[in-house]
């Protein structure tokens, strides 16, 4: 087990290198970021229009509520997303992973740092984008102090859970070189059940139950609800507990799949 001081030193160095690396990719990173901004923007416009056409609201959300929801969704999604499922197979196929396996640190540490570096650099785009959306769409935030206080720990847990789940799923690359179908399936679930298409309140009860039985709601929509002050104190505490359990499950899943995947890698080679 690495001591926290040693791990801290490692993360400082890896973060520095990752920041330098991500700066080199700033243009393509910015284009990805614009795509990430457009997605909630489209939903915001669509649902805002629907609300106005339906007499002012849908499932209790008025146009200003939808604006606040999707602006929060943009922030939470940016801070919790990872691209690992899109790129991992190439690391296996082209042998980059071989070098990573020969280093005395787990490859996930470098991935975490690369992810955090990208998010940090892209704040340069995210912050003005959020400011423009606030000015342009007149969102109605109902900030509640205690709810905001729980947002940061929920966000950290959501990031950890989402990262660990997606890292575990990316390991399917060890068994097949065609994981695009699996990725597509996962992203379909994520899109529907994490509240990215619409707030959970808009969905029928059974779909809400399904979303809450799986990790999808908790890793994106739950922190959004906390940011908007839409969860009661008991729900917030329960949500944090559920997220903690999911984070633990995801960590155990990763540990188990990684052990099998690296055994498979060393059996097959690359």
């Amino acid at each position: 087990m690495r001591g926290p001081i040693r791990l801290g030193a490692l993360y400082r160095a890896l973060l520095r290198i990752s920041l330098l690396d991500q700066i080199q990719y700033r243009v393509s990173g910015a284009i990805w970021m614009i795509g990430a901004i457009l997605e909630p923007l489209v939903f915001l416009v669509v649902w805002g229009t629907v609300a106005e056409n339906q007499g002012g609201s849908v499932a209790g959300y008025e146009a200003g509520d939808f604006a606040a929801y999707y602006i929060s969704m943009l922030v939470v999604n940016h801070l919790t997303f990872s691209w690992i499922m899109h790129t991992f197979q190439y690391r296996v196929q082209y042998g980059d992973l071989a070098y990573e396996l020969l280093r005395p640190v787990h490859p996930i540490h470098n991935d975490v740092c690369a992810n955090l570096a990208y998010k940090t650099i892209m704040l340069v785009i995210l912050v003005p984008a959020v400011a423009l959306l606030v000015i342009g769409f007149d969102p109605r935030f109902h900030w509640v102090a205690w709810s905001l206080a729980t947002f940061l720990p929920a966000l950290a847990l959501a990031f950890a859970t989402r990262f660990l789940i997606e890292w575990s799923l990316a390991l399917a690359s060890f068994w097949t070189t065609r994981i695009l179908a699996l990725n597509q399936l996962y992203f379909m679930f994520l899109m529907f059940l994490s509240g990215r298409i619409a707030p959970m309140d808009v969905f029928p009860g059974w779909l809400q139950s399904l979303a809450m039985a799986l990790p999808f709601y908790w890793i994106i929509a739950f922190p959004v609800d906390l940011l908007l002050g839409r969860a009661a104190p008991a729900e917030a505490v329960r949500g944090l507990m559920v997220l903690s359990v999911w984070a633990l499950v995801a960590a155990l899943l990763l540990r188990m799949v990684w052990a099998r995947a690296s055994r498979r890698f060393t059996a097959v080679g690359a």
């Binding site: 040693r6 030193a9 490692l10 400082r12 160095a13 890896l14 520095r16 290198i17 330098l20 690396d21 080199q24 990719y25 042998g95 980059d96 071989a98 070098y99 396996l101 020969l102 280093r103 005395p104 640190v105 055994r263 890698f265 060393t266 059996a267 097959v268 080679g269």
Partner: protein, 336 residues
Amino acid sequence: MSDPAIRVRGLAKTYQVPVRGAGLREALRSLVRRETRPVEAVRSIDFDVAPGEVVGFLGPNGAGKTTSLKMLSGLLHPSGGEARVLGYEPFRRDNDFLRRITLVMGQRNQLVWDIPVIDSFDRNRAIYELPAERYRRALDELTELLELGDLLPKPVRNLSLGERMKCEVAVSLLHAPDVLFLDEPTIGLDVTMQRRIREFLREHNRRTGASILLTSHYMADIEALCPRVVVIHHGRILFDGPRADLVARFSTDKTLIVDVADPEADLSAYGTLVAKDGGRSTLRVAKQDTPEVTSRILADQSVLDLTVEDPSIEDVIDRVFQDAAAPEASPSESSG
């Protein structure tokens, strides 16, 4: 006597390779029943490498060299036998083991492509937890030996292949590994750069006493660096011993280069005429006949100069592989 740095006993690796016949019917059948065929990449090999020893691992493409290196560095799990490197079982990839070895693959890249070389070095400093003083010393030494000074601030993508390879070697050695696995470290490099890398490796071995197991298709690498060679073919070891013995054991011929006064003289009666350029003839003669043939040429011709040479190691290796391949092409094999 000290323990060997690398100890290999009965080491074997068999891959299960998917096989499928051509056509739609076979494609559909493979959906139901996936068939595989075992391919024995390495078949029970044994050898030791002593601390500080430099050993050349030779063999044609597909002989099992890279598979062996991957097993010894911990990237592949052996199917059979045992390997110990510095006392560790490589496939467990113990962090303490990984800190003491390195693997350089000539056709792969571990430097970060878009940032200056020095930053990739710094990443390895953090990963291997090198104290500042030790890192500085290693960096200075590698910079001096490989002449990296001008390259360190450049992004990797702007380096030539040779420059990149020097940096790849350097970054792999920052943590001062005790065992170096080098898989074709000079592949694709021009002659000057090959020599530079070779000289560096020899000097590094002299200074640090690290053991080196090296594969290369360039015999010049082997001749410059490896007093001992292990020859592997079809996953089996054909030869393990001093490089000089390889030539003695497998070369059945000698090369005679004869300069005579008469440019029209035909010396083909003395042996196999390999080349002729004016009065200079190059002959291949059976080793045991060399003294007698030499005497006859000196007696019969007006000889200006005569030299007797062993064949190049390249020719010898080529012959070893051809001899080893011959039984594989036997009628029973080809008809089966």
